[in-house]
């Protein structure tokens, strides 16, 4: 099983690659909407990317109010 830190690191790496943002510009507690410059449709892309990568299902409503990578990682971690 992946550790929470490893999950967080993977999310940052995947998000950076998918949205073509330098990995070093992303930090765990940052607002990912702002950091990645994404809207709600692109957030669904991120969700799909993460579900596919980690092999989990994350219902959209669990993302309501989630804006930072660390909380997102905790949501994923809880389903691994």
């Amino acid at each position: 099983m992946e550790t929470a830190e490893k999950t967080l690191d993977e999310i940052l790496r995947l998000a950076a690659a998918h949205f073509k943002v330098p990995r070093e510009k992303l930090s765990p507690d940052e607002d990912f909407f702002k950091a990645l410059g994404i809207d709600s449709l692109q957030t669904l892309d991120l969700l799909t990317k993460l579900e596919n990568h980690f092999g989990v299902e994350l219902p959209d409503y669990e993302l309501q109010g989630v804006t930072d990578f660390r909380t997102l990682a905790a949501k994923i971690q809880a389903r691994l």
Binding site: F33, D39, S40, L41, T43, L44, D45, L47, T48, K49, E51, N52, E57, P59, D60, Y61, L63, Q64, T67
Partner: protein, 267 residues
Amino acid sequence: MKQFKGQALSWQVQSGVIELALHREPCNELGTLSLGELEQFASALDDLEADAHALIIHSDVNSGFCAGADLRELYERSQSMEKLQASRGVRDFLERIHRVLNRLDSAPLTTIAAVHGVTFGGGFELALVCDLIIADKMARFCFPELRLGLIPGFGGIPRLRRDVGNAVVRDLLLTGRSFNATKAQQSGLVSQVVSEGEALRAARATAAQIGKFDRQTAVSAKRFIKPIPLDELRKEIDIFCELFSRPAVQAGLKKFVESTDAQPYLP
């Protein structure tokens, strides 16, 4: 008309395969413009079918296959009319789109939806009209209507129920959550999941395979196994119109249209 290029969609026929491409930014929202062009396509099908064995519906828009009904237009039109007139307008729109979708559903062709990205609401319902859904792995399927105080109105519930178990229908309908392509395939909804950007290529390969079969046999097989749930479709229009007249729906539409929330597509 063997080919057409409109403001919302275009079509062409090649090697017996009709390709209907949606290309209205931002994500092929279905309003009066799209409906008008879909009606033109439905009329043209009578001629197109003579030289074709398959129909592929896909999107040229990056964000996805189709985000569903044009809620902005729906809200603005309903605001500019008396309540009774607005209600009649919605029923008229639904009757028209059901005629188009029923026509596509029963077409004597093998129909394939090649989807990617957002396949929500009316977009999901358009895909459900097709005999096969081929999804790229970034596709997502959702019925977000309940958050507006509505049910899907383009035939989604009867057609989804035709294809998958009732528990899956309830999950999608009552939670408003979206399924990714893998989950949709596990649920029996999606025929093939392919790599990102490969849905159209896979649909063309499938259409080429279908072209090897005797057409009359394929049509007979389709008619035998894919009944159109006409009674339920009628009932769906009635329920939708009944719900639409409530103030809660106007409030839900207003909230969506005026939202500055970064996540309006998340239930």
